[in-house]
């Protein structure tokens, strides 16, 4: 039996694109968040979210369930939008995104937010491409291995392997981190 999502997709494909609304409701927050994590910039994430859904609606007929899940298809469009955006704009200076962070709060919070952002970027830059993709899709975006494999065009087994390898290492890092956290605590 067709799921509600499948019904919506096929009705969109059969000349009733107004039913896209249900799909939009289901995914807008996910896609927006996905784009925000990768741009750390509210307006950019909004622009790219618009682009993603506009394109998805326009090309809904090219989606085929036999080639992968609808969510993976949407994430791929979002990812391609992001890439196009990278191509067309200068890299954003972390400082420029500062205004996005808790602008209403005090300076200290802002600086902390900025430091965090810089650290995240620094950390991400030390991961190689495939690790970064797999880990962020799994942990930040909460995708399943199957979805990740569809988005990235890799096998599910290799996504699992990459994720667990990276987590194993992260876990190890944390052992050290916790130890220092402990030292810090005992020092203060």
């Amino acid at each position: 039996m067709e799921t509600l999502q499948e019904q919506l997709i096929s009705s969109c494909q059969n000349g009733e694109p107004e039913n896209f609304g249900g799909l939009y409701n289901a995914y807008v927050r996910k896609i927006y968040d996905f784009l925000y994590y990768r741009t750390m910039h509210k307006e950019t994430a909004e622009d790219l979210t618009s682009l993603t859904f506009t394109k998805a609606l326009e090309r809904i007929n090219s989606y085929s369930a036999s080639k992968g899940s609808f969510s993976a298809w949407l994430y791929q469009i979002a990812r391609n939008s992001l890439i196009d955006n990278y191509k067309q704009t200068r890299p954003t200076d972390p400082a420029e995104t500062l205004e996005n962070f808790a602008g209403k709060d005090n300076l200290e919070t802002q600086i902390e937010a900025k430091l965090n952002l810089e650290k995240v970027q620094k950390f991400l830059n030390t991961l190689d491409e495939e690790k970064r993709e797999v880990v962020t899709l799994r942990v930040w975006d909460g995708l399943s291995y199957k979805e990740i494999s569809e988005v990235l065009g890799k096998s599910e087994a290799s996504c699992k392997m990459i994720f667990s390898r990276t987590l194993e290492k992260l876990n190890k890092e944390v052992t050290f981190a916790l130890m220092y956290l402990f030292i810090l605590k005992s020092l203060t």
């Binding site: 799909l23 326009e58 067309q88 620094k122 880990v135």
Partner: protein
């Protein structure tokens, strides 16, 4: 327990029950992560306005599709909620990072390399230190499957015991960025198919490659008669500075996999009558040898006999087994040199079966699997093959154990070099820091205890617990004043410690395979990580390699630009370092490197672009001969002429081309520059997108959606011709015609007057 945490944990347990042992820790980490989840500032009013916009779009689409007004007011009014649950939106990263800092300030900690005095001549990971007698290569092969599994077990122990500096540098599985021209063997192709009697081919371009005569896979190939174009597609490009690595886009946003993958075959002659001959239903980068077209798609390598280009016939298929993937491939004299990588686990005994040819597994026996004598963490097996391009038959093969991180390959006339990143054992580093520097802030009794623990024959995990106990006891015995003093002293010492050890934290292992007998002829190790294949070059038997130090060892605030440096090493045939230049571009990182004969050219960048000219005429004493500081940076360097180097890069967010005059190596000059009205060119990251035609004194590069042809005569850069909006990808020349290949069309230009001869639609 939070369902998200539960889900992630269960996932991990089902993959590896070992994770269960750390449940409490993992749980608290995940909780911490959720607490520090960045607010994505999702604005419901934005969602509402986009909803309205889409509703209008849907109406318009309906009108177009059905050609009638069918206003459906139900749009977006039905409250469908297909996905429930909130987002797991935390960067694991964030938590870990937040653990590592105090008062918003990086808390430098204790980690660094196996602490020997830096000695570039030693190969710590690859030499047998215990026996004292270094074998020729410092590696050996396995004698049995049991030994292989025992080695894997040991590497896993190390892995579990080690912290890690995450493999750093530019992530590169396929070789990336930025090139001479390879003769891929097809000029000698003599098949007459498709060639009109009155057409002769006096010259034809090849893919822009690093080493002349050694072809590299790319999305366009030609033999002068046919053009093979595989695309459009998504594929990885690397090295764009300052931003997350990204996947090179389609002109269309809709994922390419929803298009039928295809490689089109085009009859190229006569130029005014080019036409599509046929297509192959697969795509990827390609190699072409005589009548065999080899296509590297993500899960297999397929070869097609194209002697009848209108009807290609599949000749062989090589598929990856398990989690295997392509590292790189080269084509030389009809042989394909293929490098792949697998992540083995304890369930993978030797003989390894990394690939299958037409369904039959290719076995690599235990004795052909080489490993460093001292196990390294995070092991991958690299598999190298020599294959006959026409038949696919594998004539030689071997495997070696390297690390999982970044891997680059460079092939010269004589040798194939494969690199992998090595990260030092953080436990060793921590203990070493405390034992060597601890005397300044810890009592002797403490350092003795720490040394003792280090010597225990127990797992690293157990050692860590022991260390923690010892330190815990000690710190809690101190007064608040003494704790503050200790903290300051430790921080201070750590800074110094890092500076002196930065060349040991992240290193690059190099394995050299002689092409003749296809055996490992040497192994070596250098500090830091190379950027891309152009960071390596073999000249008169020596390997020159440029690396960035201090990137990629991410530990509590260490690593990153502020502490980076750039070095160039010269290694002899045995991969022993015989000369070096260190500390070029402090606080910067390498953006481009190119070695040509006795010279090296290097671009480092942070805010300005120092372009360095290196004198490598005496391999034992390489030196910087000159430098030029200009705004922006170059990420691809191409020698247009003996003393003219073109730099392709960026300045102020736009594509910048710089012409460097290096006739006086002590005083390089920028002859001319051109700022393109484009944000991006693939040539800055992928040398295959660049084409030089020296006969006409021009070069091609794509920019945005268009194709650009520049004239570089008389030391000036002049835009000769722009071909707008064809989603340009590559160009090639046949005789005196330039073919610009875009995602959806090919445009042919007459190079004598740059007039458009013909446009072929590929849709």
């Amino acid at each position: 327990m939070d369902p998200q945490i539960k889900n992630i944990l269960q996932d991990l347990y089902s993959y590896d029950p070992e994770f269960m042992k750390h449940e409490d820790r993992l749980k608290s980490i995940l909780e911490e992560l959720i607490k520090s989840k960045p607010d994505t500032q999702f604005d419901p009013s934005f969602a509402e306005s986009l909803r309205q916009k889409l509703a209008i779009q849907a109406e318009t689409q309906t009108e177009t599709q059905t050609n009638k007004f069918n206003l459906n007011l139900a749009f977006f009014k039905k409250p469908y909620f297909i996905w429930g649950g909130s987002l797991m939106a935390i960067a694991l990263v964030l938590t870990i990072l937040s653990f590592g800092q105090k008062d918003g300030k990086p808390f430098l900690s204790v980690l660094t390399g196996k602490i020997q005095k830096p000695n570039p001549n030693s190969n710590p990971a690859l030499t047998d230190k215990t026996s004292g007698q270094a074998t020729i290569t410092g590696i050996k092969s396995f004698t049995s499957s049991e030994e292989f599994l025992a080695y894997l077990q040991e590497t896993q122990n190390i892995q579990n015991n080690r912290g890690y500096g995450i493999g750093g540098g530019p992530a590169t599985l396929m070789e990336n960025s930025s090139a001479p021209l390879a003769k891929s063997g097809f000029n000698s192709t003599a098949s007459d198919s498709g060639l009109a009697a009155n057409q002769t081919i006096s010259r034809v371009s090849d893919t822009n490659v690093q080493v002349a005569g050694i072809d590299e896979p790319d999305i366009v190939k030609t033999n002068g008669k046919q053009i093979y174009f595989s695309g459009p597609q998504n594929y990885y490009t690397y090295g764009q500075p300052g931003i997350m690595n990204k996947i090179s886009p389609d002109a269309e946003l809709i994922p390419s996999q929803y298009y039928q993958p295809k490689t089109v075959i085009v009859n190229a002659l006569p130029p005014e009558q080019i036409k599509t001959l046929g297509k192959i239903d697969t795509q990827g980068e390609m190699l072409l040898y005589k009548n065999t077209l080899i296509i590297f798609s993500y899960d297999r390598i397929q070869a097609f006999d194209v002697s009848k280009p209108e009807a290609p016939v599949k000749s062989w298929t090589m598929s990856y087994n398990g989690n295997g993937q392509l590292v790189t491939a080269r084509l030389k004299d009809g042989k394909i040199y293929l490098v792949t990588k697998n992540y083995p686990d304890l369930g993978t005994p030797c003989p390894l079966k990394p690939m299958s040819l037409d369904g039959a597994a290719i076995e690599i026996p235990c004795a052909s699997i080489y490993h460093p004598i001292r196990p390294i963490p995070d092991t991958s097996t690299f598999n190298a093959f020599v294959m006959d391009a026409t038949s696919g038959q594998v004539s030689k093969k071997l495997s070696f154990m390297g690390s999982f991180g970044q891997s680059l390959a460079y092939m010269s006339e004589e040798s194939l070099y494969i690199t992998y990143t090595l990260n030092k054992d953080q436990l060793d580093v921590m203990v070493d820091f405390l034992t060597t520097n601890g005397k300044d802030f810890l009592p002797n009794s403490m350092t003795d205890k720490l040394k003792k623990v280090q010597g225990y024959d127990i797992s690293g995990q157990a050692k860590l617990v022991e260390l923690q106990n010892i330190l815990e006891k000690y710190f809690s015995s101190l007064s608040a004043d003494d704790q503050k003093k200790l903290e300051n002293n430790m921080q201070n010492k750590l800074e110094d410690y890092y500076k002196t050890r930065m060349r040991e934290l992240v290193t690059t292992g190099i394995v050299k395979i002689a092409l003749g007998n296809f055996e490992i002829s040497a192994t070596g190790e250098i500090p830091g990580t190379p950027l891309n294949q152009f960071s390596m070059d073999e000249y008169q038997g020596n390997l020159r390699i440029a690396s960035t130090i201090g990137q990629g060892f991410w530990v509590w605030g260490w690593g990153g630009n502020s502490e980076s440096a750039n070095d160039v090493y010269v290694l002899n045939t045995n991969l022993k370092t015989i000369g070096s230049i260190t500390d070029l571009g402090l606080t910067e990182r390498i953006y481009a490197a190119r070695f040509i004969g006795n010279r090296g050219y290097l671009v480092t960048f942070r805010q300005i672009d120092p372009f360095y000219v290196l004198d490598l005429s005496n391999p034992a004493s390489p030196k910087k001969s000159g430098e030029l500081k200009i705004p922006g940076y170059s990420s691809y360097l191409h020698p247009l002429d003996t003393n003219i180097i073109l730099g392709v890069g960026q300045e102020n967010g736009k594509v910048k081309l710089s012409l460097f005059d290096v006739s006086d190596p002590s005083n390089p000059k920028e002859l001319d520059k051109y700022s393109m009205d484009e944000y991006w060119t693939e040539a800055a990251n992928n040398h295959h997108a660049f084409l030089q035609d020296s006969k006409h004194g021009v070069f091609f590069l794509p920019g945005g959606q268009s194709g650009y042809i520049f004239n570089y005569k008389n030391g000036k850069l002049n835009l000769e011709k722009a071909v707008a909006n064809i989603q340009a990808k590559r160009a090639l020349y046949i005789n005196d015609y330039l073919y610009i290949i875009g995602d959806n069309q090919i445009t042919v230009l007459n190079e004598s007057n740059w007039e458009k001869i013909k446009t072929l639609d590929l849709q």
